[in-house]
């Protein structure tokens, strides 16, 4: 008699395991960030600064273009020469800062995984599937990315806005295409999320490769 290994019991148990633990993974990932806020804060800071840079570049360009289109002649004269050659350097700098950002995320998540080998082993002993472990780390990184990139999008808009108002006066606000700004804000946040998820994929995979026996080992 193998009642406990009944095929149907397996299927039923696993079918149910897909949905409920997702919410558990969400709340756990959230708690993990809260508890380790000091550390998360540094990662979030990295994301925050590179996305502030990205968004402020977007904002500057949008403001410059709308001023060129409908600003005063004086402003047009000031802006004209800096249009073209700046672009190439901007792209290069932005790529670099995003690259640094993703390496930072990867590094932070890898540390987080190695540090928690015992916890990961315990999760597995309690019956967590690999997909749960992956979810846990991807969600943690996604939350960090979300906080960092929303912050970055806001500061990256406000900072250049005030700088430009200081330079060219309040006409900046009058010509500002809000929809355009909103679009770039969304793009910034999406880029932040993509970076956070991409940076966490390898660390999460490493976590699934850990042997649950490690949870039993006892060096403190």
């Amino acid at each position: 008699m193998q009642e406990i290994f009944d095929e149907n019991v397996f299927k039923k148990g696993i079918g149910r395991q897909i949905n409920l633990p997702f919410l558990k993974a969400v709340s756990t990932a959230f708690k993990n960030i809260r508890v380790r806020f000091g550390r998360s804060f540094i990662t979030i800071g990295g994301i925050f600064f590179s996305l502030t840079f990205l968004m402020s570049t977007f904002t500057n360009n949008v403001i410059a273009q709308s001023l060129l289109a409908s600003g005063t002649d004086e402003v047009k004269f000031l802006l004209q020469p800096m249009a073209q050659e700046v672009q190439a350097r901007q792209v290069w700098l932005i790529s670099l800062s995003l690259l640094v950002c993703i390496i930072g995320i990867m590094n932070a998540m890898l540390t987080s995984v190695t540090e928690r080998y015992r916890e990961i082993g315990t999760w597995k002993c309690l019956g967590a599937l690999d997909r749960f472990i992956v979810e846990l780390f991807l969600l943690e990184s996604t939350f960090q990315g979300l906080i960092g990139s929303i912050g970055g999008a806001i500061l990256g808009f406000l900072f250049p806005l005030f700088v430009n108002i200081g330079k060219y006066g309040t006409q900046v606000i009058e010509v500002l295409p809000w929809l355009e700004i909103l679009k770039y804000g969304a793009i910034t946040i999406v880029i932040g999320l993509v970076l956070s998820i991409a940076g966490a994929i390898y660390p999460a995979y490493r976590a699934t490769q850990m042997v649950p026996a490690d949870a039993m080992r006892q060096e403190m």
């Binding site: 193998q2 290994f5 397996f10 409920l20 756990t28 993990n32 315990t122 599937l129 039993m216 006892q218």
Partner: protein
């Protein structure tokens, strides 16, 4: 195969490849454990107790040999079935308690039930009951770092029993506890063993365990040296104690 063995191993060997040398942690283990038994695995440090545990508990694969849980060969199970086995059939207790640090006592206990597909409400009710049964009804919403070692181990025990497993595997459950607390934990395990008829397999250096065990497996250098019933050991506890001290 008329006998109903919850755990059976055949020629289990485990070697760790460390580059230049290989460590043979297990060198051919054959054992049978019946349903409802309380087994202590004793032996000097490095004799292979933890390794045997991991192999029996489906936490690590043997290099050679077979492990059967309820007469099912563990090596034949895929990742899903293995997770199912760990979740439903086996409860693990560790020397270092291993509670999830960010979760309260209750959340730790409900976790395996949620993995098993219970609803949050049912899991919570059952979790509270379990906490009461290990004497921690007042500590439901405490985090692990707000609990003493003994209390954490009680939570871990409640968690191990969450899905009414057939087997409890405990690796030195009293190893990090003082004498009195250790005794309480052993008493609690024995109580649950009798009450629920669950099979308990515990690796230990702790001679207090002998009193509650049905059988004791003595392990040395990766082999079962001898198997004794409690009745036989009690007569010579004095000498055993002497031997262990050395």
């Amino acid at each position: 195969m008329a006998e109903q063995n919850v755990v059976r191993t055949r020629g289990v060997k485990k070697a760790f490849d460390l580059g230049k040398v290989t460590v043979e942690a297990l060198r051919g283990i054959d054992l049978e454990i019946a349903k409802g038994e309380y087994i202590s695995i004793m032996g000097p440090s490095g004799s292979g107790k933890t390794t045997l545990f991991n192999v029996i508990g489906g936490l690590d694969k043997p290099t050679e040999g077979r492990v059967y849980i309820d007469e099912v060969d563990v090596a034949q199970l895929d990742a899903y079935e293995l997770a199912w086995l760990r979740c439903r059939k086996i409860g693990y207790i560790f020397q270092t308690f291993n509670l999830i640090p960010v979760m309260t006592a209750l959340e730790n206990i409900t976790l395996p039930m949620i993995f098993a597909g219970l609803s949050e409400d049912d899991a919570r009710d059952k979790g509270v009951e379990l906490l009461k049964s290990v004497g921690l009804g007042e500590r439901v919403h405490h985090k692990p770092n707000e609990l003493s070692g003994g209390q954490q181990q009680r939570v871990a025990i409640a968690r191990a029993f969450a899905n009414d497993p057939a087997i409890i595997l405990a690796d030195e459950p009293t190893g990090n506890l003082d004498l009195k607390t250790g005794k309480e934990i052993i008493g609690l395990l024995k109580e649950l063993n009798k009450e629920k008829g669950v099979t308990i397999i515990s690796a230990t250096h702790d001679l207090k365990m002998i009193d509650v065990s049905d059988r004791i497996f003595w392990i040395r250098d990766g082999k079962v040296e001898r198997i004794e019933r409690r009745a036989d050991v009690q007569l010579e506890v004095g000498t055993v104690e002497g031997k262990q001290a050395g």
